[in-house]
């Protein structure tokens, strides 16, 4: 056996890099966010980006795979009750007091409409017995971050343009767009787009649209199946990229939409506009939660990351794709005045505005559909919600989506 050569240089110390694992969706897991977080925080941030339904399932069933979970409040009904998360101590959140009333109270003012369904406050605070509810306590289920009021996008060449045109959810079932309609495939979201359309079109009425009965769900699915058999739907989509390609391929005349998608159109699709629906918006609120398994140094890093999210930079990036943040004051510090004026105040863009990746997403003179933040927030009709009969609804919805995608004949 040879002795170790005495002249061997000692290897540089191999310190494992500190690493935080974040699981989420394309809504918030953006490269510019990760890069800046790593630079500011001094540890690695791994993003695991999944589409909505998959993300929710593995977050619930495999919580050992992440430290921070970025998703929407409505799917706490799944992930929290699976026991996958641990409560967040608000005493460790520096910006807690600056978080908006929309998240903490359910409306932007005492008198603003709360909308149907589960406003985030209904799932915010940890209550005795492990339930979630609106009664303030020291522990929360999810730190409120980004949110938006969603609607649909439409082709002005089909539905018209000008002050007399009043976009309505009913357009998602409108004969003028037959064969060129697409819905978002997430049962706690897409089913409400369809239900709002059915109600606005006068086809169905729901006693509580955010908590449908089995009979109401069946009636809605029957209506959708009937329209599908008549060839109304061309597709469904699961993320912004798929939604954008439906517009870019000129496949749709009207479809469910998310705000960032409007910045992803190729030139020549200016006729596809964001609707400010006469009936109001379908809102959602995102946030960040902690895995039940995260503790020690990882837990400290996770809290640092949560606090970083509310420190301004992330809020500014999110604004550039049309999302609001729960503490806008800090984000404003990172936005140019023209950016703030366009995204939050509904003013005409004073110049071309760039999106999160630096490409131009808004042309000078453009104006955000629906007006100011307050105008839009006052018109929340419904929040994305996991209904009591969600298990039944989600399975019925999946069958519908499969038939649309497979193009099953009537």
């Amino acid at each position: 056996m040879n002795a170790e050569p005495a002249t061997h240089l000692s290897a540089p110390p191999q310190l494992p890099r500190r690493r935080l694992r974040v699981r989420g969706t394309s809504i918030s897991l953006l490269a510019p966010i990760r890069e800046q977080a790593e630079a500011d925080l001094g540890f690695a941030v791994d993003f695991e980006l999944l589409e909505f339904p998959t993300c929710q399932r593995v977050a619930a069933m495999e919580p050992e795979g992440y430290d921070v979970y970025e998703q929407c409040f409505h799917n706490l009904d799944i992930v929290w009750f699976w026991g996958a998360l641990q409560p967040i101590d608000i005493n460790r959140i520096a910006e807690w007091d600056n978080i908006s009333d929309l998240a903490k109270q359910g409306g932007i003012s005492k008198y603003a409409s709360r909308g149907h369904g589960d406003a985030p406050v209904k799932k915010l605070y940890v209550q005795p017995g492990g339930f979630l509810g609106p009664k303030p306590s020291r522990h929360i289920s999810m730190l409120p971050t980004i949110y938006n009021m969603d609607s649909f996008g439409y082709d002005t060449r089909v539905f018209g343009l000008g002050p007399d045109v009043r976009p309505s959810w009913s357009w998602l079932l409108d004969g003028r767009a037959r064969g060129r309609i697409a819905l978002v495939d997430e049962p706690a979201i897409g089913i409400f787009d369809a239900a709002l359309a059915a109600e606005a079109a006068g086809e169905l009425q729901f006693a509580d649209i955010a908590n449908m009965t089995i009979a109401e769900i069946t009636a809605l699915m029957n209506l959708l199946e009937d329209r599908r058999a008549q060839g109304y739907f061309c597709d469904t989509w699961r993320d912004g990229e798929e939604a954008a390609s439906l517009v870019n391929g000129s496949s749709v005349a009207v479809q469910s939409m998310w705000s960032p998608v409007y910045g992803q159109f190729e030139p020549g699709h200016d006729y596809f506009l964001e609707a400010a629906p006469a009936e109001g918006y379908r809102a959602w609120h995102g946030g960040a939660s902690l895995s039940r398994h995260t503790r020690g140094a990882e837990l400290d890093m996770a809290y640092e990351y949560l606090n970083w999210w509310l420190s301004g930079y992330a809020g500014a990036v999110m604004a550039r794709q049309g999302y609001y943040i729960s503490n806008p004051v800090r984000a404003r510090e990172h936005l140019a005045p023209e950016e703030w004026a366009y995204w939050y105040d509904g003013a005409a863009a004073a110049r071309d505005l760039a999106g999160p990746y630096g490409n131009i997403v808004v042309r000078a003179g453009g104006r955000r559909s629906g007006g100011t933040h307050a105008e839009r927030a006052r018109r929340i009709l419904i929040w994305n919600t996991v209904m009591d009969e969600y298990n039944y609804a989600a399975r019925a919805w999946d069958r519908f989506v499969r038939r649309v995608r497979d193009g099953v004949a009537a």
Binding site: R57, D77, G129, F131, E389
Partner: protein, 327 residues
């Protein structure tokens, strides 16, 4: 599951059938050349055709019967030519020993297959509406239609299946509404029964259980829920009320078991609440115990509803038993 004391009841069914046929061939009750058909033998043995098929194959291997040009088998080794005798086996006086007969009867009772079927039927309805085909179920279990009917009657009594307008057995879909209605009934009936039961409860039993809750980590919420029923509520001197309470709970416990099998996290948070409940009962102010029970039921109702939502992310794996037809 109830097990018979008869050791033969544990033997596979086809072996019992084989034994009976073999003995009756040897003692001449089944004469050489007799045509053996599955259907009539199954009827005599009160079993399905599946074990009869296996038994006949076994006897063929043993050289006691042989194939011929027609349907079925002929008794005898087949070395000499015999004229087939067509005679309904049901008219022959077969020698079936009492213990074998008992074992066949016992094996045939629904109790031996019920738990298995209940689990599958409770679980499938989480995924939607299913039709149960009786003949397929008989085939699947290797039991007679009579046994299947007993099983169906029990499932219906437990609220797990119902008949639709075309007289088909239907299971599911299990909905939040079903659960809410069951709990509504519970919160009306169980506190009322507890009040009636107060003078009849054996309080030392309750105190003993209460003492165990703190020290015995093996006690599950399911066990405590049963104990609450048996030691307290069921002591109410109104048997109809108690029966109603029992049958109303059956679906809920079947669902609870099915959800746990699917891998849903167990509900461990209610142990403390049971302790408080038994404490209040032991202290005798039965009104406060009844009020606490009512509150507690509304909490577990919420837990059940929450569990029903999260089950939406569980996907169907491995398919369903062949007798369950998705509607």
């Amino acid at each position: 599951m109830i097990r018979s004391a008869n050791p033969l009841a544990q033997e596979p069914r086809y072996e019992l059938v084989t034994r009976v046929l073999r003995d009756n061939i040897r003692n001449g009750n089944l004469p050489q050349g007799l045509v053996l058909l599955e259907g009539p033998i199954a009827a005599v043995m009160q079993t399905s055709r599946v074990p009869v098929q296996s038994a006949l194959r076994q006897l063929l291997d043993e050289g006691l019967i042989h194939r011929f040009d027609g349907r079925g088998y002929l008794v005898g080794s087949g070395q000499q030519t015999v004229t087939p005798i067509r005679h309904d086996i049901r008219d022959l006086q077969l020698d079936i020993p009492r213990d074998v007969d008992d074992a066949l009867q016992t094996r045939g009772t629904w109790l031996h297959v019920y738990d298995h079927v209940e689990k599958q039927v409770a679980q499938c309805q989480i995924f939607g509406e299913f039709r149960i085909v009786e003949t397929e179920l008989a085939e699947y279990l290797g039991v007679s239609r009579t046994v299947v009917r007993d099983v169906m009657a029990r499932l219906q009594e437990r609220g797990l299946i119902r008949k639709n307008t075309s007289s088909h057995w239907i299971a599911g879909p299990l909905t939040a509404r079903t659960l809410r209605e069951k709990f509504e009934l519970r919160s009306i009936l169980e506190p009322a029964a507890l009040r009636l039961a107060a003078p009849h409860i054996q309080y030392p039993e309750v105190e003993a259980l209460q003492a165990r809750i703190g020290s015995d980590p093996t006690l599950t919420p399911e066990y405590l829920s049963e104990a609450l029923l048996e030691l307290c509520i069921a002591r109410a001197p109104n048997t109809e009320l108690v029966d109603l309470i029992r049958s109303n709970r059956l679906l809920l416990s079947a669902v609870n078991r099915a959800l746990s099998v699917l891998g849903l996290p167990r509900d461990e948070t209610s142990i403390d609440q049971y302790q408080t409940l038994f404490q209040l009962i032991a202290l005798h102010p039965i009104d406060s115990a009844a009020e606490y029970l009512r509150d507690y039921l509304s909490i577990i109702e919420r837990r059940y509803l929450a569990r029903m939502k999260i089950v939406a992310v569980v996907s169907v794996t491995g398919g369903f038993a062949p007798y369950l037809i998705s509607q």
